[in-house]
């Protein structure tokens, strides 16, 4: 834990242990806590502070079953802070505040089929959930990962995706919106994979993360397959400044995404989801 119990607004410096380029605009930072410990739940996020520039919420993408203080974040260059973050190197220091927010329903999913539908960088917040599913593979029935990326070059965690499909009895389907080069995999939006995937809708839990439009159509497709809103979980994104429910920026209907989310049981937010400018 890196939230000061006395002052949840204080950030804690972490050393950057490694930087990896994932795609042309995404990168993974491996961080090391000073005391060698950092525990979190899959789905939670940290506020990462670049000295003097600012703080942004980034989901945690490391393995929660190994609380060895190894903490990884995959981020995308979309603003001043992430741009500065992308230029950071091993040995630099980054401020960490967290973990914050709700978790993926991995306990609720025990004994069921698990369907994970993600798009783009939405795979990052689901990676900890996948690690946990793999670590306790026998507790779950079918595990299906449906992942959509823009192009073959923009597929995150390529080696791991292969490993998950090959070694860990996960059904992994990747699709791209635009095929390039020698791509021989699926082409088409990720929602098209849902109707093809093999799972038992009457006993499945779905976890969804991606751009809001992608999530909306994914939920529709899952509904067509027979997964009800109570068994669909989505991870929402809104402007988060404080992450502790004080600043008001991430409000979404009667929720603060930083505290009540980012992972929501879909039926909780269904009345507000997809409404214009809420």
């Amino acid at each position: 834990m890196s939230i000061s119990t006395e002052n949840p607004m204080l950030t804690t410096p972490f050393r950057i242990k490694g930087v990896r380029k994932e795609t042309h605009d995404t990168f993974t930072l491996e961080l090391e806590s000073q005391n060698g410990k950092f525990s979190f739940e899959p789905g939670q996020f940290n506020m990462l502070y670049v000295y003097g520039i600012g703080e942004v919420p980034i989901s945690i993408s490391s393995d929660p079953t190994k609380p060895d203080g190894r903490l990884t974040h995959t981020a995308r260059e979309v603003g001043v802070v992430t741009k500065a973050m992308k230029q950071m190197r091993t040995g630099d220091t980054l401020g960490v505040r967290g973990p914050f927010g709700t978790r993926w329903p991995l306990e609720e999913a025990v004994g069921r089929d698990v369907v994970i539908v993600t798009g783009g960088i939405g795979l990052a917040p689901l990676r900890p959930a996948l690690y946990q599913l793999i670590a306790k593979r026998n507790q779950y029935r079918k595990v299906v990962l449906l992942y959509g990326a823009r192009t073959p070059d923009e597929i995150l965690y390529q080696k791991e995706l292969q490993k998950w499909g090959g070694e860990f009895d996960l059904e992994v389907h990747v699709t791209v919106d635009r095929a390039t080069g020698a791509w021989r995999g699926n082409v088409g939006v990720v929602t098209t994979l849902i109707s093809r995937a093999l799972f038992d809708p009457s006993n499945a839990i779905a976890m969804v993360c991606g751009p809001e439009i992608m999530m909306r159509y994914t939920i529709q497709e899952l509904g067509k397959r027979g997964i009800s809103n109570e068994r669909i979980y989505v991870s929402m994104e809104r402007n988060m400044k404080c992450a502790i429910g004080f600043c008001g920026h991430c409000q979404f209907g009667p929720m603060f995404v930083c505290q009540d989310g980012p992972v929501f049981q879909f039926n909780q937010i269904a009345p507000f989801f997809g409404k214009q400018e809420v």
Binding site: G54, T93, F246
Partner: protein
């Protein structure tokens, strides 16, 4: 609402609060102020500045707006020195006590860099002990609401809590409600019922000027012990009650709270939002003046050498365009959606978040709106009870 709030109050504050009433002669009010200052409090109360009543440090009773009255209407505030001896013959001004408990601008921490590392230094400020003199019932309720925001959840704002734990509250019951007041209909006034250490009702008669005083806490009783007072007699208590009963009937406005939450949840697409957006300037005055609005942003700064960084927290407003910015753009791009967010939060989603309405009926958002948008009127419009927006009438009449 007040019932629900009182459950959250520490026992000492509610214990026998209603039991005994005392008389404090107006001529002894100065001794109350001195007693508070003597106990190490920084006394804050209403005072006149820039043509308005604001809250600032009180050194003596001369700092109070004695003899002043105010006139308030949508988009209109007028201060008049009518003379007379009354200390509290006006209602709330543009500011609220939140500027002390939840400062408009606050440094959260500092950091110093050395090579590739930086060290974060927590701000350790001496917490000021504030004595708030002249807190109206609506404002007390507003403080209780912000308590819930900053201290009632998973996380506690240490800055707010440190300040909050040390305040002394002298409430003043409202004997003259303003033209934009509607606390009566919100169940938040005009008489303070919870959350005070001492509460005063000012009575000014031809030959008498006194306060009927109530004690709300042990702290209050301790201060009372240091000043001259006497047991209140039935007649004076009745006089004070009569004044307050009359005050409750003279509210400038009212808000019907019946099924208000459900109403607003149902009406995200009501045409009124577009209509109000055509008048709203998105200036954020309402949110700054509101005693319960709590939104903030942060600013990260460095000095020129880059070796020293700071993080500041500042009041923000949901009316600001970039308030809802996520990469790629803002979620609430239109004024319509921002006004809807503000009002729906205040009156509906707030209830689900904090178990109470976010509005205390103080009327500030109506008075200080440059175009005179009236939240009570907007609610009526959503209910379908009116169609024409009111212009800031009294302002025009005066000029």
């Amino acid at each position: 609402m007040s019932k629900q709030l009182s459950l959250k109050m520490p026992k000492a504050r509610t214990e026998r609060a209603e039991e005994s009433k005392f008389i404090l002669e107006a001529s002894h009010l100065g001794q109350l102020l001195s007693a508070l200052i003597g106990k190490g409090y920084r006394a804050i109360g209403p005072t006149v500045r820039d043509g308005a009543i604001v809250y600032d440090e009180l050194h003596s009773l001369r700092d109070l707006p004695v003899g002043y009255t105010d006139e308030q209407a949508p988009g209109c505030y007028r201060l008049e020195k009518g003379g007379g001896r009354a200390f509290f013959n006006y209602t709330v001004g543009p500011q609220s006590w939140k500027k002390f408990l939840h400062p408009p601008s606050l440094r959260l921490w500092k950091a110093d860099r050395e090579d590739h590392r930086f060290q974060v230094v927590q701000e350790i400020e001496q917490t000021t002990k504030f004595a708030f003199l002249g807190v109206r019932s609506c404002e007390l309720q507003a403080i209780l609401i912000q308590d819930k925001v900053f201290m009632g959840g998973q996380f506690v704002d240490p800055v707010y809590q440190a300040c909050r734990d040390n305040i002394f509250v002298v409430a003043v019951n409202c004997t003259k409600p303003g033209g934009t007041c509607f606390c009566q209909s919100m169940g938040t006034g005009p008489k303070a019922t919870v959350g005070f250490d001492l509460a005063l009702t000012e009575v000014l008669e031809a030959k008498a000027h006194y306060f009927v005083l109530e004690v709300g806490s042990k702290k209050g009783a301790e201060v009372l012990a240091e000043i001259p007072y006497r047991q209140a007699d039935k007649k004076r208590i009745q006089t004070a009650n009569r004044i307050l009963a009359r005050s409750a009937k003279r509210m400038g406005r009212a808000m019907d709270q019946t099924n208000l939450k459900e109403l607003l949840y149902k009406n995200y697409e009501h045409p009124r939002w577009k209509e109000v957006a055509s008048r709203c300037l998105s200036c954020a005055n309402c949110t700054m003046a509101c005693p319960t609005c709590f939104c903030t942003t942060v600013e990260d700064l460095t000095d020129l050498t880059g070796q020293h960084a700071e993080r500041w927290r500042k009041w923000d407003s949901c009316f600001a365009m970039d308030f809802s910015y996520i990469y790629g753009g803002s979620v609430r791009r239109s004024v319509k959606s921002r006004y809807r967010q503000w009002m729906t939060h205040k009156l509906a989603t707030w209830v689900d978040q904090f178990g109470m309405s976010g509005c205390v009926g103080c009327g500030r958002c109506i008075t200080w709106c440059p175009v005179g948008i009236d939240i009570t009127e907007e609610v009526r419009a959503i209910r379908g009870q009116t169609s024409k927006p009111k212009s800031p009438k009294s302002y025009k009449e005066k000029n």
